[in-house]
């Protein structure tokens, strides 16, 4: 298996089935993973700040530093390889408050909101996510089968599902109140 390592403010894509995309030490940063199951095209972005308007010059030089320009770059890159947006499975990880436990700067949360905002604008719903908390995360996206494996702290790897489960109600058929 070939491993592509994505650093901070970076994104990479692959159309090789025997490839995994990895990024480490997601604190307040967010990893955005995309996978086209039909064409086996995978992409992974590791961004650190929410809005490119914070520093237009830096956004020009390093678009993957920011949620909006980074996600745009990621989607363009997989599209160039032949991925179709409507088929993409999109999953998020990160957005923790590891260096800011009191939530003073809230960068993790702001990054998460910025990612959601950009994805909604692009017409994408999130399949699953592992965000928030106070723990650093490492993630792997395996192109062969689309597994998105998340390790939180020193814990075991867990797979984020390809699709949010539709929970069946237990017993009485009374619907729960969904919202957030």
């Amino acid at each position: 298996m070939k491993t592509l390592v994505i650093g901070i403010s970076d994104c990479q894509v692959s159309n090789q089935p025997d490839t995994e995309l990895v990024t480490y030490a997601l604190g307040s940063c967010i990893a955005v993973s995309v996978w086209d199951p039909s064409r086996r095209i995978a992409g992974l972005l590791h961004f650190m700040l929410p809005e490119s308007s914070m520093d237009a010059q830096k956004a020009g030089a390093t678009p993957c530093m920011f949620a909006d320009t980074g996600i745009d770059r990621l989607f363009k890159a997989v599209a160039e390889m032949g991925a179709e947006r409507r088929r993409l499975v999109v999953r998020l990880a990160g957005g923790a408050q590891v260096l800011d436990p009191q939530g003073v700067f809230n960068i993790g949360k702001r990054n998460y909101q910025a990612a959601r905002k950009m994805l909604w604008k692009l017409g994408i719903l999130i399949a699953s996510e592992a965000v928030g908390g106070e723990v650093s995360r490492t993630v792997r996206l395996i192109n062969e089968d689309g597994r998105f494996r998340v390790r939180e702290g020193n814990g075991a790897e867990q797979d984020l599902p390809l699709h949010a489960p539709s929970r069946k109600e237990a017993g009485n058929g009374v619907p729960s109140v969904a919202g957030r």
Binding site: A164, R167, A178, G179, R180
Partner: protein
């Protein structure tokens, strides 16, 4: 499968939001009928067959609770699944709407993903 949907909400912006979520969730919308209140919704139901109804509660002319009551009393309409999408998430209201046959209840504000989940659950599918 192509779905025929009735969206009932006095806010055009909210109807647009819900419609967008349905399309982005992968639902093939054969027909998407919209109504601004319960009375208009009943009118549209007499004209169009639909597979699912999404309705707000607090609306002028006829609110969502009265709408569901009328639907539940009509043998031609009572089997259409209905999902409530409302700011009112008080227990008495939820219980009344479920008692009138609501199969899903989404409290505003809601994320697009939570609406998708409710739709898939009620329509018994994963798109």
């Amino acid at each position: 499968m192509a779905y025929r949907v009735l969206l009932v909400d006095d806010s055009p912006a909210m109807r647009s939001f819900i419609r967008r979520v349905m399309v982005l969730s992968g639902f093939d919308l054969d027909v998407c009928v919209e109504a601004g209140d319960g009375a208009e919704a009943l009118e549209r139901l007499r004209q169009e067959k639909v597979d699912v109804i999404l309705t707000d509660i607090n609306m002028p002319c006829m609110d969502g609770e009265e709408l569901l009551r009328r639907i539940s009393e009509d043998p031609e309409l009572r089997d259409i699944p209905a999902i409530v999408v409302s700011t009112d998430s008080t227990k008495p209201r939820i219980l009344r709407m479920i008692g009138l046959g609501a199969q899903g209840y989404i409290a505003k504000p809601f994320s697009p993903e939570s609406l998708r989940e409710a739709l898939e659950k009620v329509l018994g599918c994963q798109v």
